[in-house]
Symmetry: C2
């Protein structure tokens, strides 16, 4: 039986999308890459996912999983024409353990929906990517997503206790457990961040985090971005780990302010958004530490929001940053590199220099506390030669980050976009170790091929001789 017919027999006609319009809609994520979808299927259970994988494997068709499609690196784009498994209907919160502070959730549950659902229990899911109103827990797990509050709380891997997934052979396997130290190999952490290359996530046991009894959010304007960055270094050096430390530069502040009117100071060279959580005493102490470090760097404006309404306004600007860019240009390219915090000022100035040299419109917002930079280039892809220019600048920006002792990607994943840059941070034997593990899960190479690892990663045989 042909592939489509077999899938329709399994799922019914409305859950198998293969008309040209559907195929076009599903051929992209939120980034710039376009792939080719043979069909997009929308299963509702892990058993259906397993059956789909077995059918696809019999037909020798590559398999690509997708959540909400908010990714930027092409992780959910079928670069090799393939079957797209869309997991948005696996969107149930199966079980919440209020005492143990955990929940079993489907991969299609939207990040913010989970936090809203457990809010009455005084709990939330800590990873908070900027796309949290739309992105799914499955996508968060697949990319090991971060967010402003990962400075203190850690990225998604710190909040995932177990993962149920469908293997390349169509088996349903669970890795990890509720126990503090699962016996055997910790395959849970390998699944987190594997971007669909090891299997399809069908259920996740997440850790829920207690809401802090008190919280304060500060907005501090500085004449220059150097002042904001130096304040971040000073705060970290003081021993305080705030819940969040975000910097936005002047062009970004201006775009955001025009968009949401949050009262950000558009005349400041940069704005630092800082948040401290804890008991009321520790929050008050944290606010004073941040204030005194900031005062050494000539702030133009220091505001402290202590009620929820004020806090929401300050955060609204940060969370709307990427939406605000649409006013500046129709397309944007968002970087995601990491640098040691001590190199923040030096790398930022090199990144501005690269943007100027390529004559690009650049706006910056970043998780400064983590050293996770997000330079954003706003452009119009219809301008001839523009995309090539953006990509050439992107490569240079990644290189200056790595040269400063940093890394290729903070939280967006490698996808297809960055896989050829993996050589910049990994040696041949490092990549070979990763490729072997991937092969252990997917011998035939049918799970999200052409993603994460560069071609030729599996380049040594067992005796160390290059194949």
């Amino acid at each position: 039986m042909p592939l489509i017919e077999e899938l329709v027999a399994l799922l019914g006609p409305t859950s198998v999308r293969h008309h040209p319009l559907d195929r076009a809609v599903f051929s992209k994520d939120a980034g710039i890459l376009k792939g080719e979808v043979i069909a997009a299927v929308l299963p509702e259970t892990a058993q259906e996912v397993a059956a789909i994988v077995r059918i696809a494997r019999r037909h020798d068709v590559p398999i690509v999983p997708r959540g909400a499609g908010t990714g930027l690196a092409g992780g959910a784009v079928p670069v090799d024409p393939g079957l797209l498994i869309v997991l948005t209907r696996l969107n149930r919160v199966h079980e919440v353990d209020e005492i143990g502070r955990t929940a079993w959730v489907g991969p299609g549950v939207i990040n913010l929906d989970l936090s809203r659902q457990v809010e009455p229990l005084g709990l939330h899911f800590a990873p908070d990517p900027s796309s949290q109103q739309a992105c799914t827990i499955g996508g968060n797990v697949a990319t090991n997503a971060g967010g402003p509050h990962c400075l203190a709380d850690g990225t998604t891997v710190a909040h995932v206790l177990a993962v149920e997934f469908v293997t390349a052979e169509g088996d349903i396997v669970t890795v990890g457990s509720e126990a503090p130290d699962q016996p055997g190999l910790d395959l849970r952490a390998v699944l987190v961040g594997s971007e669909g290359t090891l299997g399809i996530i069908t259920k996740v046991l997440v850790r829920l985090t207690e809401n802090a009894p008190d919280v304060a959010t500060m907005l501090i304007g500085f004449p220059t971005i150097e002042g904001a960055a130096a304040t971040v270094s000073g705060i970290i050096a003081s021993g305080l780990i705030p819940a969040a430390l975000e910097i936005m530069d002047q062009p970004m502040v201006e775009a955001v302010e025009n968009f949401v009117h949050a009262g950000y100071p558009t005349d400041a060279g940069a704005v630092l958004l800082a948040e401290v959580t804890g008991t009321s005493e520790s929050v008050a102490a944290g606010v004073e530490i941040i204030r005194s470090v900031a005062e050494r760097h000539a702030p133009t404006d220091v505001r402290v929001a202590t009620d929820d309404a004020e806090r929401a306004i300050l955060w609204k600007g940060r969370k709307s940053a990427f939406g605000a860019v649409a006013q500046v240009a129709p397309d944007y390219y968002l970087h995601d590199t990491v640098v040691p915090r001590t190199a923040l000022v030096e790398v930022m100035s090199k990144i501005y220099e690269i943007g100027d040299r390529y004559d690009l419109t650049m706006l910056n917002v970043f998780h400064a506390g983590d050293g996770n930079l997000h330079p954003l280039v706003a452009f119009d892809s219809k301008e001839p030669g523009m995309l090539e220019k953006v990509q050439a600048a992107a490569r240079e920006m990644v290189e200056v980050s790595i040269d400063a002792g940093g890394s290729l990607s903070g939280e967006h994943g490698i996808g297809h976009e960055k896989r050829d840059l993996m050589h910049l941070v990994f040696s041949d034997v490092d990549l070979d170790a990763q490729a072997r593990v991937r092969e252990a899960f997917d011998e035939a190479g049918m799970m999200n091929p052409s993603k994460v690892l560069p071609e030729g990663s599996r380049c040594f045989d067992a005796s160390g001789v290059r194949l």
Copy 2:
């Protein structure tokens, strides 16, 4: 050239131990299993470790790594006659990053020595196994070790950012990084807890934890162990996560008190040791929560130690527990199962029943907050039939823990001792997934063979057909 000659040519004669006495000394860890050591080698660098692995592979000899040998599950015992690589000379703290709060350390660094060395910076290494005066960081990483303070801080995997290791082919590979989210597969977490089956750890980037500004330690006596366990459940349900929650039963309190004279109440049915850390306000609040929960369960004695000397005395009892048992009998067998905290009382009573039925001397001390039980059977292995009786009881105790929704091992590792019990918690496809990953690192099966996974774990071929 014969194996020993080649090793001597590489390391010199004093670093290659193969006399019968040496071979006997190195044939055991702290548990009851005995192996067969062909030779024990003591390298000083990662390059030497890599060269040793290449030599051993050429001679087709199994390779077993060893730290201080404090393990209980036979992880460092060569069950198949093999070459033991002793890593105690890789004991340098290479680099401490005071601002970033990390350190690159050799696997041979002793756990407590690291915390002592960074004490002047106000930092410590959080995992604190009871053997911390002797055990090494390498062993902590290999077993994903826990300890009393892992209740709030998490086990070793939460404190390891990167691992340098020597592969089965003798390459030196680093997994993980200082960046919050390393690109590619998270092989760091797989190395943690892999017990030498994937490679030999030669350097570890650990996270250092800030010492809390304030701390209080409480000792609370109860008429029964049920009262102590119910207090633990009540504390956790209140939302407070103390730094530690340890329970000792009456026989253990008596053994400890005879040994170290810490002033423990030997007439109490059980003793709860609780510790809270934080600001002085949050510590005071935590002490009050614990006191009020305890008071609902008729405590016979409530003490709060607030200065370092008093605290040290209270902890001395707990930390000396296993040493104290030597007065009771020449040998002991220490269990390490995990149960849901809600099942603590029920499982404990079943464990006492099993001990009584087999007529065994049992003492209990455990990480109650985590549900990590450590029933300890004190016995004389010279008594005929005794070891068999101890092992039969052990199996029953593991089974009642798993039946209650618990797990096989909390923090001691699987080693050789528990590998045949892995079937109790993992399905065939689960074990197959682990075995495949192991094969990806060690195709020939020469790295610590006969450990962790039961024989026959790799039982499916790629199409899902049982081999």
